[in-house]
Assembly symmetry: C2
Homo-oligomer: 213 residues x 2
Amino acid sequence: MSTRHRLLAAAAGALAEDGFAAASARSIAARAGVNQALVFYHFGSVADLLDAAVRWSVDEAVDDYRRRFAEVRTLPELLALGGELHATEKERGHVAQMAQVMAGAQRDPRLAGAARYAIDAWSVQVEAVLARVLATSPMSGLVAPAGMARAVTAGFIGLQLYEAVDPEAAAAAMDALSLLGVLAQAMEGLGPVANRAMRSRLERAHRPRVTRT
Amino acid sequence: MSTRHRLLAAAAGALAEDGFAAASARSIAARAGVNQALVFYHFGSVADLLDAAVRWSVDEAVDDYRRRFAEVRTLPELLALGGELHATEKERGHVAQMAQVMAGAQRDPRLAGAARYAIDAWSVQVEAVLARVLATSPMSGLVAPAGMARAVTAGFIGLQLYEAVDPEAAAAAMDALSLLGVLAQAMEGLGPVANRAMRSRLERAHRPRVTRT
DNA sequence: GTCTATACATAGATAGAC
DNA sequence: GTCTATCTATGTATAGAC
């Protein structure tokens, strides 16, 4: 394993486990078992290293899940996969890492670029699933899969942050969310008549956007 | 305005605008226009000041919205209020501040306490609305308002983080979310027969929890 | 490519004058 | 209560030996 590679992995780990604020050149180098100066030799700056590490590790993580996403056919399946992803990635730290990157990105444009890259990478997967899953639903054509996918991904990151703050409450939140999938799924099997009725209700309710004054 | 008070406000502002990593005793004191040593005189440590500032500012923010939450009667209204809150608080920085606190909380137990306090404060408001709004819905009794409220609040924070990373995409995500409210609202007006049908579908689908092997 | 050594900025925190 | 001055630790980054 090359030093460059070790630094990438160490930076990703430092972000996930120690957080953005503690991801210094010294702590990353120590984690990688190499000298601190090599951070600057290989990547120029800590920000550059973090940027590279996020892109690298997000590519790896998404690759691992690409097949799983492709198998999803229903919304509850998507939520089940989300729950599984939540559990696995809590150990591996990929999503926690993203949360840290997004927090750091609030003031660092370079990290913001990495965060955009990461969210897009995950969202593209979710979007493909949503487009497939919602095609036969009364919601089809009314909801933009791209926007919904971003909402799902961003919301998921919020939940991941919450997980570290209050594990029990976060678990209760995940449980409650599973109902949304059940709800959408229940709409699927309504039959053509009820389906059309539901759809017309949705269209009528959706057009005049809700505005409060 | 007392020095103590100025420090609280400055700490809240530093968190929201400069981020957790940049919220140092010196930068906060500069923002408050007081000497750096006063942070330690009044609060003992930076972590203690941040903790106090978060609790103080969350109490203020929630107070501002208490009445508005109490007026909400439907899910689309809740989402509309959420959108408005998103817009106003982006300027005031209360939710961005929470995002920073949650990011910092990943490794700092004291900040984790503040984060729990903050999420609970918002969630209690959301929970009351959800309990009221869902009472007449086919979902009543199936979804735990407490868990759902936490999911909404945590997800909202994720969206707020996303806002700084990719404003256009975040706006698209908010738009897509508004459909969820419309969806639930459309279920409300289905009439008693369809309502019961929907409810039985939900109950059947919900009981045997979706598990993938 | 990797190391040691070091320059320099900024962090948290405290002592003591006022 | 507030200030100046200072200690100490840690951060980024670079120069130069190997």
